[in-house]
């Protein structure tokens, strides 16, 4: 009945705007080799591989079979999981279920993207219904602007409140050698950056990034056999509720249905793990915040504070380094966004934090860490990682 699962190896490429020096398989291989070295393993020790990205960015069909030279899945089981922006966390959850099922002891999870080879906005636009959505809707920015507008109307939050989040994430990113953007921004810089779709400005948005991430998931039966201390998966859950752009229900008057996918997924996993006060209980959070307003709205949806309370709490520094629950010590998605890798990088950063290996960006004494993935049509994946082995497998 379900085994406990830990992460024992981490690998990722330095996230960059373009990696013309490598092809996709080579990019993947950099992360895979680093993860295997970290776990003191070779390719031969891996029982199965789970991989994910977004097809239309690189234009490669059947990425699982294509990847074999880079992923090391030759004569092994390999499976592709893909759910849009949530792909990286979906891959992590996939690797979790592979190991928890009892069928595999050592599973390699890989997320990657080479956005420099893609028309990112063009590809994202095709996610939406060809008749109803596409003619009025382009890419990710417009949908996020819709959300930001609703949030501002409901709470009275300002563009400056959001800019604080963008500044925080970039400041944190300065401590992370793997981050793509290393820029010291001020609120004024964000406010003066050009509008992409009001109220979202260039400074509020994530970049497009080339990068890969690989993690080694292992079962409780072998978790002590590795050089690094295991980071345990305490619980996972997801909700992918909506199919159309017109589905998001954002009642600005009542604030009802704030971000139901994130609310439901986090509520499920918080209950499993016994989280009643996330702000107090989590030591660190790596959240998929694709743009600045997400840093406000999403933490309210997860219950870090009341609705409308995020701007004040954020400006008070609760989520800064040294704050009550530092958010995105890595610099987060606003510093690097190789989309298929991004969710997995959140899990990787939580692992490093729990293992005490996050160098300049280390939060002291991390016991409990939260990772999320965002994507699709306001979809959410949520994972909780911990330093202590859980009492039982909790899914």
């Amino acid at each position: 009945m379900g085994r406990r699962v830990a992460i024992t190896g981490v690998g990722m490429t330095h996230q960059r705007s373009a990696r013309p020096d490598v092809n996709g398989q080579e990019l993947i291989n950099e992360a895979v080799r680093m993860a295997l070295d970290d776990a003191g393993m070779t390719r031969k020790d891996i029982d199965a591989v789970v991989i994910g990205n977004m097809d239309h960015f690189e234009g490669i069909n059947y990425v699982d079979t294509w990847s074999v030279d880079g992923s090391g899945a030759l004569m092994k089981p390999i499976m592709k999981l893909t759910t849009g922006g949530t792909t990286g966390t979906t891959v992590a959850m996939g690797a979790y279920y592979h190991v928890a099922s009892g069928l595999f002891d050592r599973v390699l999870a890989i997320g990657w993207e080479k956005n420099s080879e893609s028309d990112t906005t063009g590809a994202i636009t095709t996610a939406f219904d060809p008749f109803w959505d596409r003619p009025i809707f382009a890419g990710a920015v417009a949908g996020l602007a819709m959300e930001a507008t609703a949030y501002m109307a409901a709470t009275g939050a300002t563009e400056e409140d959001a800019a604080y989040v963008a500044v925080r994430e970039r400041k944190h990113g300065l401590n992370n050698p793997y981050a793509h953007l290393h820029i010291n921004m001020t609120i004024d810089d964000v406010m003066k950056s050009p509008y992409l779709s009001w109220p979202v400005k260039m400074g509020d948005m994530c970049p497009r990034t080339d990068g890969a991430c690989a993690l080694v998931f292992v079962s409780e039966d072998v978790a002590d056999d590795f050089p690094q201390k295991p980071a345990w998966i305490l619980g996972v859950a997801d909700r992918h509720l909506w199919a159309y752009t017109s589905d998001p229900y954002m009642d600005v008057k009542t604030g009802k249905a704030w971000f139901p996918a994130l609310e439901k997924a986090s509520a499920e996993v918080f209950k499993k793990v016994g989280i009643t006060d996330p702000l107090e209980q989590f030591d660190v959070a790596e959240l998929y915040l694709p743009y600045s307003f997400a840093g406000l709205r999403y933490i309210e949806s997860m219950g870090f504070c009341d609705r409308g309370g995020a701007p004040e709490l954020t400006r008070a520094g609760a989520f800064d380094m040294g704050g009550k629950c530092p958010v995105n010590p890595s610099g987060g998605v606003m510093s690097s966004n190789a989309i298929g890798a991004t969710g997995l990088i959140r899990v990787a950063e939580c692992t490093w934090q729990i293992q005490g290996r996050a160098d300049e960006r280390q939060v002291p004494d991390v016991k409990l860490a939260l990772a999320t993935g965002f994507g699709g049509c306001y979809w959410s994946d949520v994972l909780i990682l911990g330093k202590e082995k859980p009492g039982k497998a909790r899914g």
Binding site: G59, D64, P77, L81, T90
Partner: protein, 381 residues
């Protein structure tokens, strides 16, 4: 592996073009059918695995459009991009993890809205291979030729598979292409890519299907006829065609060895009563039968000539008509599982084979069967 069972199955009819229906409509039809088959409501489904491919659907995040249709609202849900046999495998693991008691697995495909040569060309290396114009058909032709040259298998032996499977399709109302053929008719059909002729190829198809898997505890409450998963495994070989001996079946051998080990199958030819395998082209049925260990290498043609693989033979292969009689890609592997489940339950209707206790379903991913997934299903735990 703890016992997990198939408790509900649903398939749409496979047709050349389901013009009036978008793919979410097909998914709804199949999921609804699977729930009805199991006598379940959507509330009793604990989680969902959808199977789709952004290229075939012409949409990024192709699973987004079917969240309503498959009933995943407010459930844990994930998406496998690959053949249905792989998606069902993930659905199985999610139950084995202890997190869920039931999984609905659904797959869809609208070949009528796809441009197959372009989409399957995108499987190949963008710099070295794509510009050759290679696609699923032409790469398979290379494999067929390599296989036939190595083992002396003839085009006539391949043609027999077409005659058999299209003939079987007459008894299966779901099948798209029942045809009354002879070896001569197949042999005189035009070459698409030598040695593959028109009647060696699967058709382009629209369709969807769904399977509901359940833990032992839940399965016993849901149905009196659970079909148990006895063994399942998958394996991939190399990517570049030039890195492979195309006649080799090493990945299939590895996957079947593992699945047989789990299922306690010593001699597949004796222990397995029926096979549903991925016959996108006629030669594949022969090659995969060899890879699965039903005969020696190179003997697949003779096995077929002997009549053993006919619906009335000792080892019926693709009694449903197989992919040759309808090939909604991705759905195709899930349909192989469903056909096996129906046979084990004794619910296969006109194409029912007597006494099927243990059945084998098989699916492939990637060019020329680069990756294989093998399922062994049975009526007994």
């Amino acid at each position: 592996m703890e016992p997990v069972a198939i408790v509900g199955v649903g398939m749409t009819e496979i047709r050349r073009e389901r013009k009036a229906d978008g793919y979410p409509d097909l998914v709804y039809e199949a999921s609804r059918a699977a729930l009805d088959d199991a006598g379940m409501t959507i509330d009793q489904v604990d989680n969902v695995v959808t199977i789709s491919n952004d290229f075939f659907d012409g949409r990024t995040i192709s699973s987004m459009a079917i969240q309503d249709a498959c009933g995943s609202y407010d459930k844990n849900v994930s998406t496998v991009e690959g053949d249905g046999t792989f998606g069902a495998f993930y659905g199985l693991m999610r139950i084995l993890s202890g997190s869920f008691g039931t999984t609905l697995v659904c797959a869809h495909h609208k070949g009528s809205e796809s441009v197959m040569p372009l989409i399957t060309n995108a499987m190949f290396d963008p710099i070295y291979a794509r510009s050759l114009g290679i696609d699923a058909v032409t790469s398979s032709a290379l494999q067929a030729r390599a296989y036939m040259d190595r083992f002396g298998v003839t085009e006539e032996q391949c043609a027999l598979v077409s005659v058999k499977n299209h003939g079987n399709a007459f008894a299966n109302p779901v099948a798209q292409l029942p045809l009354e053929l002879t070896v001569e008719k197949v042999m005189s059909s035009p070459y698409i890519a030598d040695p593959i002729k028109l009647l060696d190829c699967c058709p382009i198809s629209d369709g969807a299907s769904a399977v509901i898997l359940a833990s032992e505890k839940r399965a016993k409450k849901i149905t009196k006829k659970p079909v148990w998963v006895k063994g399942v495994a998958h394996c991939s070989t190399s990517y570049h065609l030039g890195d492979r001996n195309l006649y080799c079946v090493c990945a299939l051998r590895e996957a079947s060895k593992k699945a047989y080990g789990m299922a306690g199958i010593g001699d597949p030819a004796k222990d397995i009563d029926l096979v549903e395998l991925y016959d996108a082209f006629t030669y594949m049925e022969l090659m995969w039968l060899e890879g699965l260990g039903f005969c020696e290498r190179g003997e697949g043609g003779k096995l077929t000539e002997s009549g053993k693989t006919a619906r009335g033979g000792e080892l019926p292969v693709n009694a449903s008509g197989g992919c040759l009689s309808g090939n909604p890609v991705l759905v195709a592997g899930l349909n192989r599982i469903i056909e096996c489940a129906l046979q084990v339950r004794g619910n296969a209707g006109e194409h029912q084979v007597d006494g099927v206790k243990t059945a084998l379903a098989h699916g492939i991913n990637g060019p020329c069967g680069q990756s294989h997934c093998v399922w062994v299903l049975g009526g007994e735990k």
